[in-house]
Each structure stands twice: as structure tokens, then as C-alpha cells.
Symmetry: C2
Subunit: 198 residues, 2 copies
Amino acid sequence: MHYPEPLEKLIQFLKKMPGVGRKTAERFAFHLLLWPKNQLVEFADAIAKAQEKLNTCQECGCLLDTSPCPFCDISKRQTHLLCIVGSVKDIFLIEKTREFRGLYHVLGGLLSPITGQSPALLRIDILKKRIEKYHVKEVILALDSTLEGDVTAHFLKKELDSLSLLASRLALGLPMGSSLDYIDGGTLARAFSGRRTF
Amino acid sequence: MHYPEPLEKLIQFLKKMPGVGRKTAERFAFHLLLWPKNQLVEFADAIAKAQEKLNTCQECGCLLDTSPCPFCDISKRQTHLLCIVGSVKDIFLIEKTREFRGLYHVLGGLLSPITGQSPALLRIDILKKRIEKYHVKEVILALDSTLEGDVTAHFLKKELDSLSLLASRLALGLPMGSSLDYIDGGTLARAFSGRRTF
């Protein structure tokens, strides 16, 4: 017994969300069928138009609500520090910590032999131009601690080698509130080698 | 730091999905921003039009792909058995088991003092007419084993009392493949009282 075609189509789209399998997609779809019509139309509109309504800053690559970009306002940011992130979302995560007041640069992805993300897509040229323009002294590679993050970090290190600046990566170690019992060996080893005087 | 408004709006809609919190909605939204434009438009279209493209069988209340309703085709179904379910989705779940070849009846919800679902919404009049028309001998209440399911089952039992037919509910007991260790006391007690000779 198959679902009617319009329902099946909806399920197939919902299944494309990260971490959503067949069962969850079915639950979402049946939930959507109960929504009032005007709400569904608004939702559909939000999906279809989000991309075109959102502007991207040509400098840092972040999403823009207002122009000029608040992250590129050099009167309010420390220009000698540049934080390189994989995606726009990372900027909002870092801003929440209030730990960093420098400039940002969005790569728009991480290098991956699996998905085929190649260096050409990483906005490297703009990155180099910005480093020279603002006389950046330190770049912080705030990349995932995954295979893709590591590969991208090494690639960037090599690319930026000639610019004589300090390159750093985020510390690896125990997440706050965690117990040694539940930490994998790799993380524990990195936490040891990165230990700080107390 | 807030997200730009079109993104925030999208997140708010995605958050309405069952079981989706703020963090998951954000992940979904950023994922959607990476989709190709034509795919987004198709997705939006599937959401906006699913309701109007889907027809409901006036008899059983199931979603229809083709007319007449395959579940109401009395040449292929046993008309003396009627299975009462809460929502359309339940029919597809039951059909997959190939355990039941009778008629279905979708209530369109369960009674709930919390969400305010009242008896008027349960399509009771059509249910009674169908029971008389097909000379149904047994109704199977395939309802959730929750408070709402119990309340609805008792309400239906009272409503159908005058029609002199057998009413049954799905068995309560251990899920297949489960270990006694992980079963709650209520389920175990019901599994005991519902034990079958072996």
C-alpha cells in the first residue's frame, strides 16, 4: 500500500533534511497535512524565498540583514585578528560566546574528497586580499575537528604560509561538564598534550 | 547577534515540526539555504499544494490517490469487520502488516481534554451509518494505548452499545524482541492478564 503521490513527494523532500529518516519524514508530512492552509502557504513561501531575500556580504561571506555588514565594520572590530570559519552558522555560534571581536571569513564549506568540495570553492583569493588590506597578524582557524576540518586547516596553512602571519586552531580537549569516563581516547590524548598550567 | 529575518522566519516554521527544537530547526534551515533554487521551489510547492491535491474518502476518511477508495471496495474487503483508527497514517501502518482485510474508519483524531478535541469531530454519525449499511459484526478499536486512546475507546464503546456488535481493542503486551528488563510495570501487568495458552 503506497501513500498518494503528493504525500509521497512531500515525504521525499522532508527526508532530505539532515538526520531525518523515512519514519520522521512521514511524521512531519502527516503533521503538515493538519496545518491551516494559510500557514502552509506562508511556510512554503519562507522556504522558496529565503535564499533570494538573504544577502551575502562580499567581504566576509556572512549573511546580511542590513548593509553594511556588522562583522566588517572596522570601527567596531579588531582588524589584526581574522577568524576563518566553514559556514555562516559558525559565526553566530562564536558571536554568542562574546570571546572574539575580530573579523570573520566564511569559506563556504570544508575540503572533502567525499562530497568533492574542492579548494576553488573556498574563497581563498578574497581571503588573501583581506589579510593584506587589514594587515592581519593572526588567523584563527575555527574549523570542525573532523577529517574535513583537518584537511582544510592544512591546506589553508600552506596557502597562507607566504604571508608571514600567526595561524592558530581551536583548542582540542574535554568539553565543559564532561567526565573522563565518557571521553574517547583521541580527545583525551589531545587534552593531555594541550594541558595548561593551573 | 540575531539571524536575518527571512532565516529566522524559516527557523520558526521548521520548529513547529513534531520533535524539532530550536537547534534542529537551525540545522534544517542552514541546510535548506544550500539547496539549489529549483529544488527549493519544488519543495515549497509540495508543501503548499499537498492538502488540496489530496482527496479524502467521504466514507472511511482515508486519503485517496484514486477514486473509488481501495479500502472501501467491498468486493475485496471483509465487510463484517470494521477497524476504527485515529488518523489516516494508522491505516497504512496496519495495511503493511497484512493482518487485516476488513473495512477502516478514520476518526480524524482522538478525544483530548488538553487539545480540546471533542466528540463532535470524530465522524461518529458516518460511523454508525456505515455499521448499519454493511451489517458490521465486529469493530476493532486500533487506538493508541495512551490516555487519549483510552478515553476515545470508552466513548466509542458507549456510543456503539445500542448496535449489538462485538467491540475489541488491540492487545497490550511486550513489544516483539523486547526484554523484560526494559518493560514498564503497567505493560508487564497487562501482558500477564492478557497471557495466551502456549
